[in-house]
Symmetry: C2
Subunit: 154 residues, 2 copies
């Protein structure tokens, strides 16, 4: 479904790339979300759990930076995870403003149980593309995702 906008060649190429990029992302996210729903967590919850699993305990501010979400959003998602007993909060002694979030044993067990299958679901999803195509896609998306020039990342 190409764009209906009548413009020049540049405009058409950009709009078509835009719509297909967003659609592809929605498709992939929807399927990943369905996989996780069957495992009992949401995508947002999994994102937080995954960061804690791979990077270890961290304060909410740090989590908000890793997840590219606002502080208020992290409060909300962590509330839901804490209510389900998957993470726990601990106020830091050194800096009373910060709250360290860590996986509970239940949270750790959950991740050990569902992570491999979720990875395979994503691998399966991307098997529509060859290895080389996946790398090309990654490279183009990285170029597109770069900021306005004030980034620090290599």
């Amino acid at each position: 479904m190409p764009t209906h906008y009548k413009g020049n060649r540049q405009d058409t190429a950009a709009l078509n790339a835009y719509i297909n990029l967003v659609r592809a992302s929605e498709t992939v996210l929807t399927r990943a979300g369905e996989d996780l729903a069957a495992k009992g967590v949401t995508l947002a919850q999994f994102g937080a759990l995954e960061a804690l699993f791979h990077l270890g305990p961290m304060c909410q501010h740090e989590l908000s930076e890793k997840l590219l979400r606002t502080g208020g959003n992290v409060t909300y998602v962590i509330n839901n995870l804490e209510r389900r007993g998957l993470v726990k909060r601990e106020r830091m002694k050194a800096d009373q403003r910060q709250i360290v979030v860590r996986l509970t044993s239940a949270g750790l067990k959950l991740m050990e149980r569902i992570l491999p299958g979720h990875v395979q679901a994503i691998v399966q999803e991307f098997s529509r593309l060859s290895l080389e195509q996946q790398q090309t896609l990654r490279r183009l998306c990285r170029t597109l995702g770069r900021g306005t020039g004030s980034e620090t990342e290599a």
Copy 2:
């Protein structure tokens, strides 16, 4: 920021493509949303307005198919647009279940005023990629976005 998951080559390529695809989409959508916010509408509202602008009046069910959203979501977004006087609803005589949504003159004027600038914002965003790269990105995303094999689209 590559994945921290320790897996084989296939897994790593898929996960990296996944994370960068989603991030790029979020980046582009955020910027498009900021552009539209400055123009006074949300991305979801613009999506509905744009469909009505380019395809003409249609019932909510049709709109939900074009926008790839649920019926309940269309009800919600159209409510907000109607409240702002940008669209109006008309119950169809032929089929009393259907409700045709059409742009008001205010909605039409708004789109004529903001659409060109929004297109240019997207073109600007994608100017990080060459024309050829945009076409490659589009092709890869289309492949990825295809359904499980039950699609009708060419």
